[in-house]
Symmetry: C2
Subunit: 216 residues, 2 copies
């Protein structure tokens, strides 16, 4: 039915506009009027579909979270299954975490880039970082840490968790695509080329975890 698809189109265009604007300006830097204008709909429609502003924000976060989690979970389970009954290598595990989100072709789309920048915003927000990231991504992360524990059985959990902290900081800063590294490196590195960044970051993070084993 065209009525159904039309409705869905408008819903999606609100989510798209909200995603792009929240990513760039943060939650409080965006008005529902700006979202409605960019989406080409009436100012009250967002409220009709999603309730108050805060719920729209959650809807934006939720929309791609499941897709993202399923990409990564698939890659992680593949790596674990392939190595069974042994343990996968650290590098394989790290790759399974980064490549599904940084190398996939969809990631060139504006929507995904905005979504990633939004994750960077949330992850580094003292107000929401603790709660929202836990809510949307915890089960996957726990499984990811389990895999690392298999690969590095002699390493204390505390090291693994701080290692994950470093990984998460590096990834979300890449997600933010601030242009900072472009300036710093005089154009040698480009913060919008996530696929290129991936290789360097994977090597760096892999070494960070591998050293924990050697330090025992």
């Amino acid at each position: 039915m065209t009525g159904e698809t039309k409705k869905q189109e408008k819903r999606d265009s609100i989510l798209d506009a909200a995603e792009a604007l929240f990513a760039r300006h943060g939650y409080d830097g965006v008005t529902l009027r700006a979202i409605a204008k960019q989406a080409g709909v009436d100012v009250a429609l967002a409220n009709y579909h999603f309730g108050p502003k805060r719920d729209l924000f959650d809807a934006v976060l939720m929309r791609r979270a499941q897709i993202l989690n399923s990409w990564r979970l698939q890659a992680l389970e593949d790596v674990i299954a392939k190595a069974a009954p042994g343990a996968p290598t650290v590098e394989e595990i790290i790759r399974s975490y980064f490549e599904p989100v940084l190398k996939r072709s969809q990631v060139e789309q504006e929507g995904w880039k905005s979504y990633y920048a939004l994750i960077a915003y949330v992850n580094n927000s003292p107000e929401w970082g603790g709660k929202l990231m836990t809510q949307f991504f915890d089960p996957l992360i726990q499984r990811f840490i389990e895999a690392l524990r298999m690969a590095l059985p002699a390493v204390p959990d505390k090291n693994l968790y701080w290692g994950y902290h470093c990984l998460s900081g590096a990834l979300t800063l890449a997600f933010a695509q601030t242009g900072r590294i472009d300036h710093l490196s005089n154009g040698l590195c480009r913060s919008d080329d996530l696929s290129d960044a991936c290789d360097y970051i994977v090597d760096f993070i892999t070494a960070g975890f591998s050293q924990m084993d050697e330090a025992q």
Copy 2:
């Protein structure tokens, strides 16, 4: 003169309040009225001393930037001088970057903790990250990269810059103190214990850079 000190006290209390609130809620999440209330002064006083809201934000960033840069520059130059005419080790360089900001006793004060969270906010903001971080911290970072180049002469610059990206992401996420790692690790790690975090992060980041040399 008491007039002078009184003036300075009010100026400072505005900066303190702005720092704490901007750090927690971001630029757009804070009103001048909220800042004035927390500072115990009239709404119009911030505007009188600092001009428009945007300039107050810059004043907050600027206040501690010079102190922070001088701490780190001192530590870095000490390490370089001590090793001359040879090159310092990677670990020494990384320590000179982290320890002055994470191990110093002042850092336990609320003001510094807020300032760090604010840096995390700015560094990960697509809107400001590129410009403001460059403006306040570039000379030090360039010197820091130079030192790494001395320690790792065979490593291409591109690897060094992406390494710095990982380091910066890990540090600023620690700065944000979101409580995320507390949940994730079931209390094993505490995001507000920066001094403890420092040791784990330094080892991790040092390994990330050292691997670049071995990979040649």
